[in-house]
């Protein structure tokens, strides 16, 4: 028992949880530290998942199947790691409540946070009541009703892609990868609830690179009549009856465009979470935009430059849920390999 190797996992999102499961199955002692009071990370922000509309809660419960019988796994909640450092071949993690955790290897699975739409003041988030984020849309959908602040069903809704992604002005050049398909999904969900209402999606490019994404995109147009407008929204304002007035450019028609919608949904992009950035910087494994950097994206994507510090999931770059779960398992294999070599 004393010689048993211990692994610390920071973050109980999809990547952290699946890594924990694979390690425990291999008889490694795993402690998972989660800053929130529940596991699942960003899954908790979703009602249904693209591309198959599977219930997010169901995936969440599948992730922790048989956990209660597994003595190797310990998940601790409300533990926010503020410092991580290597000391005598051990990894020492300090939490904000003053606890210290020691391990032979540590997996960073600290995930992402969504872009704070308030930075794009011109879009009116936090200023006009009927400008919401995609995360808030999911929450409303979970509660069963999409409604404006006044309580009515929007007759017209617009989704705006690339809020905080592919935007030099906010300093994020990269594509967040999940927002295009999420907009398609949400537009379909909206149209299924309210077939009489209109839905518009403003985009720069539609990136449908996953399995069944393209089909969904097609279905949204053919079956649900979602209207796609290529162009970004430049300004918003509020009308007297609290509708949102949009100024944009239809770049396919090469025309400026002004329209009024009852609700504007901002598809907020993916950014490195605060903990990801802090812990990466402390260990000099920080890459661009505050994400953590792996040794090689092709062949050693779970390894960091620090021996014994591993990376899993969207702390490295924007990943889908599917990819995060797989990456967690992959990280577990890298850790097992490492523990064998270090004895």
């Amino acid at each position: 028992m004393e010689n048993k190797k211990s692994v610390l996992i920071i973050g109980a999102g999809p990547a952290g949880i699946s890594a924990a499961k694979s390690l425990a199955d291999d008889n490694v002692n795993v402690t998972v530290l989660e800053k929130e009071h529940s596991f699942g990370g960003n899954i908790n922000n979703w009602a249904k998942l693209f591309p198959n509309f599977k219930d997010a809660a169901e995936v969440k419960s599948q992730l922790v199947q048989n956990f209660e019988n597994n003595k190797n796994i310990k998940i601790l909640y409300n533990k926010k790691v503020t410092e991580l450092k290597k000391h005598n071949q051990k990894w020492i993690a300090n939490t904000s409540d003053g606890e210290v955790f020691e391990s032979n290897a540590t997996i960073l699975s600290t995930g992402f946070k969504v872009f704070d739409a308030k930075y794009k003041e011109e879009l009116g988030y936090g200023i006009y009541p009927n400008v919401i984020t995609s995360v808030e849309f999911e929450r409303m959908y979970k509660d069963g009703k999409i409604h404006t602040q006044q309580g009515s069903v929007p007759k017209r809704i617009a989704f705006l892609n690339c809020v905080g992604s592919r935007d030099e002005k906010v300093g994020n050049h990269y594509c967040s990868r999940i927002c295009c398909i999420a907009a398609v999904k949400q537009a379909i969900e909206f149209k299924e609830l309210y077939p009489e209402s209109e839905a518009f999606i403003f985009y720069m490019d539609i990136r449908m690179a996953g399995q069944f994404y393209e089909e969904l995109y097609r279905k949204s147009q053919e079956k649900h009549g979602v209207v796609y407008i290529r162009g970004r929204i430049s300004e918003t304002s509020s009308t007297i009856d609290k509708k949102v007035q949009i100024k944009a450019e239809d770049t396919l028609a090469a025309m400026p465009l002004r329209m009024t919608v009852d609700m504007l949904v901002l598809m907020v992009g993916v950014e490195a979470s605060e903990t990801t950035t802090i812990l990466s910087k402390q260990n000099n494994i920080d890459g661009p935009y505050g994400f953590a950097k792996s040794i090689d994206i092709h062949t050693a994507d779970n390894y960091s430059n620090e021996n014994g510090l591993f990376l899993a999931g969207s702390c490295k770059r924007p990943l889908t849920l599917t990819e995060s779960i797989a990456d967690g398992k992959s990280a577990a294999f890298s850790v097992i390999d490492y523990l064998k070599q270090t004895k």
């Binding site: 003041e121 200023i127 300093g171 300004e235 918003t236 304002s237 007297i240």
Partner: protein, 608 residues
């Protein structure tokens, strides 16, 4: 006649120098534009010329401005310029007194000690040797400082000094040696004849010990050749600033300003730059982003020698910090603007589709938010609240659509296109019949003030709000929050609005100082004038500015420009608010029954 062959280099050099300078001045004069010539003719015979003489004395000789920024550097320039000037003046007097004519050989003053070897007696002759020695000593101390500056600029309080061109190096090297050689030449003569005073006499005695006095003639030759080298390289080197600055001071006093286009006045300004490098130290691109080839000194140099690259002209925030620091007072941003003008698209119209419109009815005040303010809607909401509260009959001109003020186009060199935008707005503003035009954007504000022809009072919202407060049109309460105010470049250095924002803020909060106030304010880095700067460099400038503005941890970082606000918000360092937002947040509604007013307003709008 006093003659020796060694006077030939000096005399030839002086003739060449004067010929070239006169040729250049005439060429530039002919290139002056109509307006500049008009002012010149108008003011040449007025008291302004006397003021110019005074300023020439203060700036070109005493170097008061450099002295103010950096006393040691000021002394260096003063000792060389003023010292040399006096040496020439008193040398001439001495020579004239000796020759008893005003028209003695022109080189006699320069080589006086060589030609007048024996103890000479004329009116006040005994005061000249010590006086001339003293002046030489002063100049030599300046040369000594110049040496130090070249080898270790930090000793003279300069972080960076200018890199030199070929002619600069020749001129500089000869300038360095002119006075030490004069000392050696005069001292060796003194050693032979005993006509030296405390300096030349002493050095002469020392030379006699070393038997150096026999080299006398060579020292005089070297001195003359050095003068030749300096004179001949001067018009092509930075030292052209010596004669040009004097002319520039007169032109400026007579009322000339740099216009939209490159003109002869631009040439005068380019050549009046002494390349002192003071602009390098104040440039944020230099000290935060490590960009070191675009500063005004290099821009001016490249323009003067006609190898300016667009990249150099365009990589500038146009913040105007160098304009404030320039001891010669050059219009650096205006000149840069002239060089940005795109010749190839002059006269092309981009906005034919935009039809000039008319205001629907008459108003007292026109509000022009500007493009940047439309990207910060909280400023617009706040301005609306303030207008309503003050009960002003205003027209929000660009609420639903509107043309840009034209300044960003102008700054990128699209002059015709900028003028087209201006004419659209001009017609619309004039049709409103309003007496006041209020804008929330300092970029628009500067454009309205400088480029538009409007019969209307133009106010930035900080001026307008300040008046509303002073006239008790709105009541505000003090939030007791600590506030640091950031002067936007275009509003502060650009238009000289410093006091109004501070007056407002001191009434709504506890105004603190950042150490970078007014003329010394930092650019936020978001300037529209620089379209080619890399994002990461922009972020460095922003973060450095934020760091310095928030050292006292204010509750609010206030600014009066939507662009500064947007830039700083991304820095995540403090709560950033526009002055209008802070006022709107602290407006006291109790005096008017504002709620009632609000309701009435909504009702009337619904009726419409």
């Amino acid at each position: 006649m006093h003659y020796h062959p060694f006077i030939i280099p000096f005399t030839a050099g002086a003739i060449i120098l004067f010929a070239i300078i006169i040729f250049k001045f005439i060429a530039w004069y002919r290139k002056l534009d109509k307006k500049q010539r008009f002012y010149l003719r108008k003011n040449i015979l007025t008291v302004k010329s006397i003021e110019a003489i005074k300023e020439t004395f203060q700036e070109a000789l005493i170097h008061r401005n450099i002295y103010k920024t950096n006393p040691l550097l000021g002394y260096m320039h003063m000792s060389l310029a003023f010292g040399w000037f006096l040496l020439i003046v008193f040398g001439k007097i001495e020579a004239s007194l000796h020759a008893q004519t005003l028209f003695e050989e022109p080189w006699l003053a320069i080589f006086f000690r060589f030609f007048v070897r024996d103890e000479h007696k004329f009116f006040m002759s005994e005061i000249f040797p010590p006086l001339m020695d003293f002046l030489l000593l002063v100049i030599l101390s300046g040369v000594f400082l110049a040496w130090i500056k070249r080898f270790k600029s930090s000793l003279l309080g300069m972080k960076k000094t200018t890199k030199h061109s070929k002619f600069d190096k020749i001129a500089l090297a000869s300038l360095w040696w002119i006075f030490p050689l004069r000392l050696l030449a005069e001292s060796s003569t003194a050693a032979l004849t005993g006509n030296g005073s405390f300096l030349t006499g002493t050095v002469g005695n020392l030379m006699a010990v070393l038997n150096l006095q026999n080299f006398e003639i060579y020292f005089w030759w070297a001195y003359s050749i050095c003068l030749f080298a300096f004179f001949v390289s001067l018009p092509f080197s930075r030292y052209m600033h010596i004669p040009t600055e004097v002319v520039l001071i007169f032109l400026r006093k007579w009322g000339a300003t740099a216009g939209e286009e490159y003109s002869g006045y631009t040439d005068f300004q380019l050549n009046a730059c002494s390349r002192c490098g003071i602009c390098i130290d104040v440039c944020q691109l230099n000290f935060t982003a490590n960009i070191q080839n675009v500063q005004s000194v290099y821009f001016i140099r490249d323009t003067r020698y006609k190898h300016l690259k667009d990249e150099i002209a365009n990589n500038c925030l146009m913040c105007g910090r160098c304009v404030e620091a320039c001891p010669v007072g050059l219009e650096l941003t205006v000149i840069r603007q002239q060089l940005r003008n795109k010749k190839e698209i002059a006269g092309k119209h981009y906005y034919d589709y935009a039809q000039p419109e008319q205001a629907e009815k008459k108003y007292d005040v026109v509000y022009f938010a500007g493009c940047m303010t439309h990207l910060t809607p909280s400023i617009i909401i706040s301005m609306k609240k303030i207008f309503e509260e003050a009960g002003i009959n205003y027209w929000f001109m660009d609420e639903n659509k509107g043309a840009c003020c034209g300044r960003p186009m102008r700054q990128q060199g699209f002059i015709q296109q900028s003028k087209d935008l201006i004419s659209i707005n001009q017609k619309l503003i004039n049709s409103s019949g309003a007496k006041t035009l209020v804008t929330s954007c300092p970029i628009c504000y500067k454009s309205f003030k400088e480029e538009y022809v409007l019969d209307i009072e133009i106010k930035h919202h900080s001026e307008f709000i300040n008046e509303l407060i002073e006239n008790n049109k709105i009541n505000i309460h003090n939030s007791q929050k600590s506030i640091v105010y950031h002067d936007p470049c275009e509003l502060g250095r650009g238009c000289g609005i410093y006091e109004e924002p501070r007056n407002i803020l001191s009434k709504v909060g506890n105004l603190k100082s950042s150490g970078f106030e007014k003329q010394n304010s930092l650019c936020c880095g978001g300037s529209l004038s620089n379209a080619i700067i890399e994002l990461e460099d922009q972020i460095k400038i922003r973060n450095h500015a934020l760091e310095n503005l928030t050292t006292c941890n204010p509750d609010v970082l206030a600014t009066a420009c939507p662009l500064c606000k947007k830039t700083f918000v991304h820095g995540n360092k403090a709560k950033v608010m526009d002055i209008a937002e802070i006022v709107a947040e602290n407006i006291s509604l109790h005096n008017h029954s504002s709620k009632q007013k609000e309701n009435n307003r909504i009702k009337t709008k619904i009726k419409l």
